[in-house]
């Protein structure tokens, strides 16, 4: 029993680490734009399909596939930003969100046109037995996920608090008009944040598909949902909150699946979200990114 608890917590933590990365990307975009990019997950899915295509047509190593996923997601993110968000900086949040939904459909259509099978194999990150620590098993993928999440969070924190670009990003998040008056080229910063966030999402996408070793077009909706859930649990717009929300989501899912079965897994998550939204604790209503 106690070992189950520890094992589930660890497995959940690892999955949660990739949710945390998804949520961090989401939160960056939400932070600078104050609007939801529904196409965030589908951009990641597009990147992962690019990598799958490369894998099927060329001999490519693990690192190359990871880079293709990240580059594909970043490219798709830039496309979404140009089409949906750059023209609407003066308002019309709904128009931007609906436009991002249209691009979501576009990404799904493109990948199913080029690669029509429902499911493709994706090369695993690691082949071999999990590491054993007495009764506990530890998948190497899980360790990689945790390490990547930690490294990205650390690097992002350095970037935001130790660089000129980070200063500009924080200024745009805090007070966009004041940022313009301080001489910051806000549209440029928004474009760069989109690239950065989509790249982080792409990394998370690669970690996830190379752990599951298969990919379907549903990855898009799945990523948007998980990222959105983790972001909301952690309090909209807070980066540390996104990390905590992602980890909490992963752990909750792991325990839910173990004790109540796979059907109850998502049910529990939505129940938690419902309770949090109805109760709205303090951390969920403070909207700062610092």
């Amino acid at each position: 029993m106690i070992f189950d608890l520890i094992q589930n917590t660890f497995d959940g933590l690892a999955m949660g680490a990739s949710y945390a990365l998804l949520a961090v990307g989401f939160t960056l975009i939400f932070g600078v734009l104050r609007r939801v990019n529904l196409s965030y997950g589908p951009s990641i899915m597009f990147g992962a399909y690019c990598a799958t295509w490369v894998h099927l047509n060329f001999q490519a190593g693990l690192l190359a596939l990871a880079l293709v996923t990240i580059a594909g997601a970043a490219l798709a993110g830039a496309y979404v930003e140009r089409l949906c968000f750059a023209p609407h900086t003066q308002g019309s949040a709904i128009a931007a969100m609906v436009a991002s939904f249209a691009l979501w459909m576009q990404f799904e259509e493109v990948v199913t046109l080029v690669m029509p099978k429902h499911l493709y194999d994706f090369p695993p990150m690691f082949e071999g037995e999990p590491l054993a620590f007495g009764p506990l098993g530890m998948r190497v993928e899980a360790l990689v996920m945790l390490a990547c999440a930690l490294a990205i969070c650390f690097a992002l924190h350095r970037l935001l608090y130790r660089s000129r670009f980070g200063l500009a990003v924080r200024a745009v998040i805090d007070a966009p008009v004041a940022a313009q008056l301080a001489g910051i080229n806000v549209p440029r910063i928004l474009g760069l944040v989109f690239l950065l966030a989509s790249s982080i999402g792409g990394l998370a996408g690669w970690l996830i598909v190379s752990t599951h070793t298969q990919i379907t077009p549903m990855l898009g909706m799945w990523s948007t949902l998980k990222g959105l859930l983790a972001m909301m649990i952690g309090g909209l717009g807070s980066l540390p909150g996104a990390v905590i929300g992602g980890l909490a989501l992963g752990i909750l899912e792991a325990h839910g699946q173990w004790f109540l079965g796979p059907q109850a897994r998502d049910l529990i998550v939505y129940l938690l979200l419902f309770v949090l939204l109805a109760w709205r604790p303090r951390w969920m209503t403070t909207q700062s990114a610092s």
């Binding site: 924080r170 008056l181 806000v186």
Partner: protein
């Protein structure tokens, strides 16, 4: 003296409603020029148009020989004009120091820290609070921070939109002392004010604005102060 800022026939509209209906005015190099007028006259619209936040429909804004009209805000800052906006608009969740660094965002020279130290001498209270978030400062301190942030870009022209708004009388006096000091140090200032009494004491030239048009231009003393105040608050309609 020559005109540092020269505005001709400027029209800015929100949809179909013209807030500026052809404004023309000048700010001389090295002067304090003041713009007075009742609420809704278009003073803030004018400042936001000069700063590039709003796009004018027509007209020209010449600054130090360059055309400013329709340029984005970061290009205006690069050109040498910085706005201290109405209601201060500091970065509330960033430290005082970060606020100042953000003000120097476009500068690539190595003297940013020197300038911050100089500003801390001018505004000792900002130094005491340098690691505090700007949102925790009092209204007067936030106003000083907004002025300091604008100065960090080393502007040739400081645009100030109602710096005394909502501040206690003693703090207002302090703000105007700072304005006079900045002027002595050679900064040109274009000041929008509701506080006509204080503004006329520091300005070399003033304009009255009513309903989107400049209705009077002159030196302080060209019009009796009570007349200026009456028109600045009520407009020129006969009472």
């Amino acid at each position: 003296m020559s005109a540092l800022l020269e505005i001709r026939d400027l029209v800015t509209a929100y949809g179909k409603i013209e807030a500026l209906k052809g404004v023309s005015l000048e700010v001389q190099q090295g002067s304090i020029t003041c713009l007075l007028g009742p609420n809704g006259a278009g003073k803030t619209t004018l400042m936001m148009t000069i700063a590039g936040i709003l796009r004018p429909r027509s007209g020209s804004i010449r600054f130090a020989g360059n055309q400013f009209a329709g340029h984005p805000p970061h290009a205006i800052v690069a050109g040498g004009a910085a706005l201290v906006p109405e209601n201060r608009l500091v970065f509330p969740n960033m430290t005082v120091l970060d606020n100042l660094q953000a003000g120097a965002y476009q500068r690539r020279d190595g003297e940013v820290d020197v300038d911050i130290e100089k500003l801390f001498q001018r505004f000792p209270r900002l130094k005491e609070r340098s690691n505090q978030n700007a949102g925790t400062l009092s209204g007067g301190e936030q106003q000083m921070l907004a002025v300091a942030r604008a100065l960090m870009s080393r502007p040739k022209l400081l645009l100030m939109d109602e710096p005394s708004l909502g501040l206690a009388p003693l703090v207002v006096e302090e703000i105007f002392r700072i304005i006079a000091q900045l002027h002595q140090d050679g900064v040109s200032i274009f000041l929008v004010e509701q506080n006509a009494h204080m503004a006329l004491k520091v300005a070399q030239h003033f304009y009255l604005m009513e309903q989107g048009r400049v209705s009077f231009s002159g030196t302080p003393g060209a019009l009796a102060e009570d007349e200026v105040i009456r028109r600045a608050y009520l407009g020129s309609a006969k009472v």
